[in-house]
Amino acid sequence: MTSPISGILPVGISAVTGVAGSTNVDAVASTSNGDGFASVLSSTFDKLQSTQNAADSLGAQAATGDLKDVHDYMIARTEASLATEMVVTFKNKAVEAFNDIMRMPV
């Protein structure tokens, strides 16, 4: 009869200290200042900016009559709008996840 009791005690205590790993600041810090979601989002923004710029310059060419192919401009515009849609979707998903966590009952 003594063995199950002694078995339960260490398990309970170690489990609680293990859960306290959420206060493990090292692990959290290393992900947030490294390649976290923020850097992924910012690199995606850079790509979005470059597609928008490409579409804009083709639009300027269309206005000045330097554009060789009509479809080039339309494809660049489609690509830019798709990239915008993609970034907005990513942002929405991230905000959604954040809100889910904020709504979590404590």
């Binding site: 790509k47 470059s50 597609t51 192919d69 479809h71 080039d72 339309m74 494809i75 489609t78 690509e79 798709l82 990239a83 849609e85 993609m86 979707t89 998903k93």
Partner: protein, 134 residues
């Protein structure tokens, strides 16, 4: 851009078919271009397409070069023509209008097919971005 590759590949197809249309319109516009018998007739334009290896990370197609048909032309007896030679002959280009119309159809349909791919790919990407909504 790497994510929306399909659009760029279809764009290269559009460009090749547009150039083909240019070549066909060039041929048709010169179908009645008369030259002297001692000169070369208008030479038919051909567009040579070449596929771009998808393994290179690009894919699609490009115009490798333009080829020209024979400048021999065909002799037509038109003694009243100001360019006619002593025997009354002038040279017409060796461009077959029926053949050009067939090529025009093929180039136009190919252009439209590539546009359809662009549209479908756009819808596809948009559908992917709708994933998990609603």
């Amino acid at each position: 851009m790497a994510i929306f590759d399909t659009l760029g590949i279809s764009g290269s197809g559009l460009m090749v078919h547009r150039k083909w249309l240019d070549a066909v319109s060039d041929n048709i516009s010169n179908v009645n271009t008369v030259t002297r018998t001692n000169e070369d007739a208008f030479r038919e334009r051909f567009v040579v397409a070449q596929s771009v290896d998808y393994g290179s990370g690009e894919g699609g197609v490009r115009v490798a070069r333009a080829e020209f048909g024979s400048g021999e032309g065909r002799m037509v007896y038109e003694p009243d023509h100001p360019l006619a030679d002593a025997e009354g002959y002038v040279k017409y280009p060796d461009v077959d209008l029926g053949d050009q119309m067939t090529q025009l159809l093929m180039a136009q349909r190919g252009y439209q097919a590539n546009l359809a791919v662009v549209e479908r790919a756009t819808n596809m990407y948009q559908a992917a971005l709708q994933l998990g909504k609603g």
